[in-house]
């Protein structure tokens, strides 16, 4: 039976009432009266709270945002929405939005308004000068990712190779390994699976509502849900079993599973014979890495490792080790090998291209605008070295390395940086280092709010329309969750632009016109959308009516074959347990155990780990009034510490502690020190402390999240894991002591 604890709601309520100017609220009676009289429009869009693109209807009353509803049938959210959807939508009225173009003036991060025309003129002059002097290859475009086409067209025109996404600070170890081993990013078929193992994947914290709906349905029909995580994460709360693991040792756990599958002959030998390349090489390198060896490293009993392997094999091919996303794949020196071992465990189960196992994404075949060919200059090598011989040859050049931009600027490789819908000063390691992006000759930020990158690094800020104000080209809903049918969604403008902002396409049209580049974008978003939809026989009107359109051709199971031979998208057409490109560059092709770079030793030392909270998406949501109010209700920004460790240090729940780390670059070292209240918990492995990833904002102009909590990036140096380019952000030991300011 649940007992309610009396809390100070009366006090809190009155205080909130007094402090609240309530621009959004109006009283209930006039609201009801108004509702009856006012026009309500329903416009389809997709959420911008993370990159899942949950399909939703936006309800607009008298031109003002009212509410949202998930679109039923959309595979990513099945009619539901998480808190972030509402939070970021309401932020269209956030006073911290950038309301007109701005130019940096004087010292101290001061900005003055500038007209679009003048901004385009000044940026074009500077950019042209930089290109003339240093070639176009000295220009870089950094972006979260998505809408690559427009930026890419500009980069192609000026001969710039360096398009960088945020992915190296997120999940490149995964995409790199999967691409090289099988040439596809397969997704877990939760609808038909009977045994799901999640390690480093928390669909209820890094919320994807469609995944949670499937997981809850699977649970009801008797499927097993196992979560391996140092923290009892939100997904573990509803799982059949939570298995805590020593952070940094997931590779040992995966290799222990693989060893059990092979030594006990539980693996699908037929699948391996037909569709796997490099099995012997893997086995020869890992023969002695038994479940017992793994257990001693990863703190999961050997019997548990074996029983999981057996259960997975018993349910195969309708079982999987979830391929994961950010969790584990930006975290350790072994991140690339963790992703490799993930592929291997799944392949041993023979679940590739199988219902209930891993399936490819259903993808619509969009059309393309036919544009006149242009004479384009040759590009030099990528400045970040991704895919470049003698630099980072095995890193995917399509994603790049984001965390090293200040170095590229210091070396003179990059002179001008455009930063679009991206905030590396908060989401990449070591913000003090990232601030040096400001040293480029030209830094243009294209944001929606006063994020850290704009405030501390940008010379010009060109604000984009809010996502509810934008028309965007159709997107495919695919990836992460297996779903048989291709689905198309589209974002329509629901609200008229509130401020003097522009769409990205119009920003680039204005800029290129000022650079005297003629007709680089001879189309509108509508025209591009029409061209994309034409081969699918969908009209824009139909998209506007449905919001989410499903196409009839399903993805079918079965390993890709051509002329009776395996035809996966790898060199051999098979699943390659050994990556040739790694061997070519002097590294081991198959994964073998690699210990963490650093480990905690003393009573006051902890590994700093992080994860998502269900109501925040890294820095994108951290200035949201509504979402920050949820954080305030639940002490959301506190640091988690295991109770036994806390007791040793005399720390009680709610105490403030000082968290310190040394950030090292070669011989030089800098001390970072932050204070934060502690949540003392039973729900965490004793060797680590955990912070949610949405906090630690340091832009004073984004006041709702300003100085709330700390961020894992505060304590990590900007390092590059050489195989995949990730940041290894959990190879960080912090010391913690009670007290602080």
């Amino acid at each position: 039976m649940w007992n309610i604890s009396r809390r100070t709601f009366l006090k809190a309520g009155i205080a909130a009432g007094a402090a609240c100017a309530a621009p959004v609220a109006f009283d209930f009676k006039s609201f009801v009266k108004g509702s009856a009289e006012s026009q309500v429009d329903r416009i389809p869009s997709t959420c911008n709270g993370c990159s899942s693109n949950c399909a939703m209807f936006v309800y607009v009353k008298n031109g003002r945002l009212w509410k949202l509803e998930g679109i039923p049938g959309a595979m990513r959210n099945e009619g539901t929405l998480c808190a972030r959807a509402y939070g970021v939508a309401a932020d269209i009225y956030n006073p911290d939005r950038i309301k007109q173009p701005m130019k940096r003036v004087g010292e101290g991060n001061q900005f003055a308004p500038i007209s679009w025309e003048q901004a385009f003129k000044e940026i074009a002059e500077k950019l042209t000068k930089i290109i003339d002097k240093n070639t176009g290859n000295s220009v870089a475009w950094m972006a979260h990712g998505g809408k690559e086409t427009y930026a890419q067209m500009l980069l192609d025109e000026i001969g710039a190779a360096t398009y960088i996404t945020h992915y190296s600070t997120c999940f490149t170890a995964k995409t790199n390994a999967w691409d090289k081993m099988i040439g596809a990013q397969l997704t877990s078929d939760m609808d038909r699976s009977n045994y799901m193992l999640f390690a480093g994947r928390n669909y209820a914290g890094a919320v994807m509502p469609g995944a949670m709906r499937r997981i809850m349905r699977a649970k009801k029909r008797g499927a097993k849900i196992i979560v391996v995580d140092p923290r009892l994460c939100e997904l573990a709360k509803v799982a059949d079993e939570w298995i805590p693991i020593r952070p940094g040792t997931d590779l040992a756990f995966f290799l222990g599973l693989a060893h059990t599958l092979i030594i006990e002959k539980l693996y699908n030998a037929d699948f391996v014979a037909k569709f796997v390349f490099g099995f012997e090489e893997f086995w020869n390198a890992n023969k002695t890495f038994t479940a017992d060896k793994a257990a001693a490293i990863c703190d999961i009993p050997a019997d548990k490792i074996r029983s999981i392997a057996r259960e997975m094999a018993r349910n195969a091919p309708a079982s999987f080790l979830e391929p994961g996303y950010h969790g584990l794949h930006n975290h350790y020196v072994s991140s690339t090998q963790i992703a490799q071992a993930n592929v291997i465990v799944n392949a041993l189960l023979g679940n590739f291209y199988q219902h209930g196992g891993l399936m490819p994404s259903a993808a619509p075949k969009f059309g393309k605008l036919s544009l006149p060919k242009r004479l384009q200059p040759e590009k030099g090598p990528r400045a970040d070295g991704a895919g470049v011989r003698n630099e980072y040859p095995t890193v995917e050049p399509g994603r790049g390395i984001a965390q090293n931009m200040p170095e590229l600027i210091a070396q003179g490789k990059i002179k001008a940086v455009f930063i679009y819908h991206y905030n590396p000063l908060r989401t990449a390691p070591d913000p003090e280092y990232q601030k040096k992006i400001a040293n480029a000759e030209l830094v243009v930020s294209i944001p929606i709010d006063w994020n850290e990158t704009s405030v501390y690094a940008a010379h010009y800020i060109l604000p984009e329309h809010y996502f509810l104000e934008r028309l965007e080209t159709p997107k495919s809903l695919s990836g992460n969750i297996a779903y048989d049918y291709p689905q198309v969604v589209m974002r329509f403008p629901a609200i008229k632009p509130l401020h003097d902002t522009k769409s990205l396409l119009d920003i680039l049209k204005g800029l290129t016109a000022a650079m005297k580049i003629d007709d680089l974008f001879p189309f509108t978003v509508e025209e591009e959308a029409e061209a994309m939809l034409r081969p699918l026989n969908i009209s824009i009107a139909k998209m506007k009516e449905t919001g989410c359109y499903e196409l009839p051709d399903p993805v079918r199971p079965g390993f890709p074959m051509i002329d009776g031979k395996p035809a996966g998208n790898s060199t051999t057409g098979k699943v390659e347990f050994s990556i040739g490109a790694f061997k070519l560059h002097g590294r081991q092709g198959v994964p073998v155990w690699i210990p963490p770079l650093v480990s905690p030793k003393e009573d006051n030392e902890f590994r700093l780990i992080h994860g998502k909270q269900p109501w925040h998406s890294h820095s994108v949501t951290s200035d949201s009034r509504y979402l920050m109010a949820i954080s305030d209700s639940y002490h959301g920004s506190w640091l988690w510490m295991n109770s036994v460790r806390a007791e040793k240090l005399g720390i009680k729940n709610g105490d403030t502690v000082t968290v310190e780390a040394n950030i090292r670059y070669g011989e030089t070292s800098r001390k970072v020190s932050k204070t934060i209240p502690v949540k003392v918990t039973e729900m965490l492995h004793p060797e680590c402390v955990w912070v949610p990833s949405g906090y630690g904002n340091f832009s004073p102009q984004a006041k709702f999240g300003y100085q709330k909590g700390i961020n894992y990036n505060d304590f990590a140096a900007a390092r590059v894991e050489p195989l995949s380019g990730s940041c290894m952000v959990q190879e960080v030991i912090v010391t913690i002591r009670k007290g602080g300011k």
Binding site: W2, N3, I4, S5, F9, L10, G13, I14, A16, G17, A18, A19, C20, A22, V24, A25, D27, F28, K29, F31, V32, W66, K67, L68, E69, G70, N77, E78, T80, L81, C82, A83, Y86, A90, A204, G205, V207, P209, M212, R213, M216, L232, E234, K237, V238, P244, P614, W615, Y626, L627, A629, I630, S633, Y634, N642, S643, T681, E682, M683, H685
Partner: protein, 181 residues
């Protein structure tokens, strides 16, 4: 006359708070005023620990103490079971805030002790409260207990249910699924 009620399966909740903010949008509430909260608890010792999350909101009691103590009958019980507030009668004395055993009243910017309205004005023609429809884990079921074919009637029959603080005699219209029920 319908008999509105809600069934909450707290074991399914993963604490995302979408219910809270979907409701805030539906009723255009400011960030600090919310009609459903989450209670987080840990049970056990590492590594044998479980987390409990219980969504709590106005229970729309059949014997609502908040209505009993209201000196002006601003808080009243509608025939279909909804406990509502007539703002024109409210004098802001906050007796209801103190009387509520579930601690769900919040004083809004106009001095009115607000709470969940069971979406009065939205449900009468078959609309579902946004806290129900937005929930990815289907924690809540809302409907008419007088309709034997309604989802809530069906689930109430199938499942072992209880009400919070039943000993208070408030007879809530919000029911909870017992663990393992």
């Amino acid at each position: 006359m319908p008999h509105y009620a809600m069934l909450i399966d707290a074991a399914r909740c993963t604490g995302c708070a979408a219910c809270r903010i979907a409701c805030q949008m539906q009723w255009q509430l400011p960030p600090e005023i919310f009609f459903n909260r989450l209670e987080f608890r840990e049970q056990g010792k590492y590594p044998h620990v479980q987390q409990e999350i219980v969504p709590v909101q106005c229970m729309h009691c059949d014997h609502p103490p908040c209505a009993t103590v209201c000196p002006t009958q601003a808080t009243y019980k509608r025939d279909d079971g909804l406990v509502l507030i007539d703002e024109s009668k409210c004098i802001g004395c906050k007796y209801c805030v103190v009387a509520c055993p579930y601690d769900v009243r919040q004083v809004n910017e106009r001095g009115i002790p607000e709470k969940c309205r069971f979406c009065a004005g939205h449900i009468e023609n078959g609309g579902q409260p946004p806290c129900v429809t937005t929930c990815m884990n289907t924690v809540r079921v809302f409907g008419d207990l007088d309709d034997p074919d309604s989802e809530i009637s069906r689930q109430m029959k199938e499942k072992n249910v209880y009400r919070l603080a039943e000993y208070k005699g408030t007879k809530p219209r919000v029911f909870y699924v017992k663990n393992g029920g």
